[in-house]
Subunit: 200 residues, 2 copies
């Protein structure tokens, strides 16, 4: 029984830890999240964390893995629901925005990890995720070009970069306003301009 047991199993505890970090990252600067803060939110002592993770970096690595898995799965689902590449692109965009709205700490953590000079395990995880993301994105863009939906002379490399940057811009704007939901509201208008830029 989950509800009656005081102690969680190791894998459950790891899962809870990861979710707690994602939650905290939505409320404060991710780089200032301490192991003590994580433990407190979980209702557990600080030292207990190190029964399940060798060190703090391993926690962050697990978080990045969690994010990567969930985001890419969402993206895939959005893509597969649409036959047209352009429609799929829009669905992918909205799925991404929706994901970030639900987990506002995620883009902050990603950006934070990328800023670290040394290439840590979590940083490599982020790079890997963006690689996978870009791959799907470029495939859609090239499909659209071949399809005729997109500008035949489209620079797909730049278009992919702009796509990701667009989401990043929405995130930054929501940070400025201190309002996460703003993103969902602004997304359609911004994507409309992007779409106009790549359409055939």
């Amino acid at each position: 029984m989950k509800t009656t047991s005081k102690n969680l199993r190791a894998d459950e505890r790891r899962e809870v830890t990861v979710e707690t970090v994602v939650e905290l990252a939505g409320e404060q600067n991710p780089s200032e999240i301490t192991t003590a803060a994580i433990a407190k939110r979980m209702g557990v002592t600080q030292g207990a964390l190190f029964r399940h993770f060798p060190n703090k970096e391993a926690i962050l690595s697990s978080v990045m893995e969690w994010v990567s898995k969930r985001l890419l799965a969402r993206i895939d689902k959005a893509i597969n629901k649409n036959s047209s590449p352009l429609a799929a692109l829009e669905a992918m965009f909205m799925a991404h925005v929706d994901f970030v709205c639900k987990h506002p700490g995620v883009p902050r953590m990603l950006f934070g990890e990328l800023q670290g000079a040394k290439d840590s395990a979590p940083k490599r995880m982020v790079q890997l995720m963006i690689e996978g993301y870009s791959f799907k994105l470029k495939a859609l863009l090239e499909e659209g070009v071949a399809n005729g939906e997109l500008n035949p002379e489209l620079d797909t490399q730049s278009a992919a970069l702009l796509f990701i940057g667009t989401v990043q811009g929405l995130v930054m704007q929501s940070l400025l306003a201190g309002d996460v939901k703003k993103m969902r509201k602004d997304a359609p208008g911004v994507f409309a301009i992007y779409q106009r830029g790549i359409r055939g």
Copy 2:
């Protein structure tokens, strides 16, 4: 004489401090820049910093002020050189990218400050700067719409957001590649798509 003097005057020392922080931010995670690291780079002891700044936050505030002044001045110069709004937008974009290339730590610091939950003095400074930036941007966009250069039905709010996001996307890409100069190379292609999205 500057060269012969061992001690700098207070205002000079403050200036050097700010420039050192900007420099360090280009090399490492801004949130991990310690007062000891700043002092070491300046060839001065850590305690000496507190002769010129009441605390660390004041240093960061000064840095943000420095950034704000320099960036907005550059933007203004770029705008004033061009009569056409669309040409001015492009010049503004390139000036911004150029500035970030010269000071790669700047966007990292901005983003980092915005992430802090509490609204500190440096955070307010950043918000003020982006406000000024957006103001100039929207003026140009509206001018372009009135002019006929831009899409008459353009959503200028979204267009402004996308403009800033585009720069942000370039920054992120350069972080991923670990190569700042990549940004300058990618900028024209990305702006071309943006331009296509807003043009009349």
